[in-house]
Symmetry: C2
Subunit: 220 residues, 2 copies
């Protein structure tokens, strides 16, 4: 059993490293957009390789653990949660790269429209992500439920940002290019919040053994 | 062992039903956009509930199989592939719903710009999806590799479609609203192709036991 415990610990540590990197990439991608900071964007591009490497490592260890021996129920749930969270984290890293790419595009244009509510949706999304990852680390059900409750707020904010951006673009067609960059940033932030929701659901599944997907009203 | 075999068969059958539904939803969402066909969009909205239900069933059976007994290596790989493909299929169903929503939005506007290359990228994506699902059903390595080779073509086509749409919008700001609908349709189709690529990679992992993610040059 000692090998099993060691591998489980390794799995956990890799996921923690990955969480830290993804959270940092997201924060830097947002900073690159809001503060027109190219260096922040470069760090995001650099993080990507390590995140992808960790994704493969986590999957290998998880499948190895499933193959090596019959895990107990609680370990089995942890391993399946690890496989799912791993997948979400890798996609979140990709979205951070997309946002950083938009930031670089925005840097190369004169600013022709305001940031709209991008800093606001960014703050909400980042908070959901931080909470969902904390909920994972601490196996905290309350925190995970708290994440699920924020998802609608982000969706509503995204809708209002879309409307504002479209209005800006319709008023002056010179703003189309820049408007699209902001639109994709807003969409990326909303998708990040969706991934935070997925992670929170996986944590609930792990801790409680209940499946709250597609029936969120139950979890509220 | 009889119960195990039965559950494995059930897992496979649910995934096949889900594949069929998702493929049909994607085809209908594209048809709704290109032929302005509202009924097609409605079918996509109706399929969503069953796809979500199947996702939960597949996960439950897969985790149950892992918990019940020590699966042999080949079964274990099949079960972990099932968990991953399941996840991809559910997201593909969501994207089909997004495309169908754009189709409904387009239906309610007079047509102010052409379809650009939407039918073309739709055909390419649908072909990749069909091949990746066939590769899964037949455990066909050649077909899976063939899918990986098409991904760049879809990305290039998406870039050229984006440029055309942006040009159309910049020429006349009355086209902004419609342009955005087309832009999100193109983006959805490109993301569907990405999911087809993920499925093809999972099939290769299952059949060959090698991990081709993030090192696609190896697989080519």
């Amino acid at each position: 059993m000692r090998h099993f415990e060691e591998e489980l610990e390794k799995l956990n540590n890799h996921l923690l490293e990955m969480s830290g990197l993804v959270e940092s990439s997201i924060h830097r991608s947002v900073n690159a957009v809001i503060n027109r900071d190219e260096e922040s964007a470069q760090v995001v591009f650099q993080n990507e390789a390590r995140i992808n490497q960790l994704e493969i490592l986590v999957d290998e260890i998880a499948i190895g653990l499933l193959a090596l021996q019959q895990p107990f129920a609680v370990d089995l749930r942890f391993i399946t949660m690890a496989i799912k969270i791993n997948n979400n984290l890798e996609r979140m890293g990709d979205i951070a790269v997309n946002i950083a790419e938009r930031a670089v595009s925005l840097l190369n244009q004169p600013q022709v429209m305001p940031h709209i509510d991008i800093p606001h949706i960014a703050a909400l999304s980042e908070e959901m992500i931080r909470k969902s990852l904390d909920a994972f680390v601490r196996k905290d059900v309350e925190l995970a439920r708290n994440v699920l409750m924020s998802d609608d707020a982000v969706d509503n904010l995204r809708d209002s940002i879309y409307s504002s951006i479209i209005r800006f673009m319709e008023e002056d067609s010179h703003r189309v290019h820049q408007g699209l960059d902001y639109l994709f940033v807003a969409r990326g932030l909303e998708r990040l919040a969706d991934h935070a929701t997925n992670i929170a659901e996986d944590v609930l599944f792990y801790v409680q053994g209940i499946d709250v997907r597609h029936q969120r009203s139950v979890a509220r």
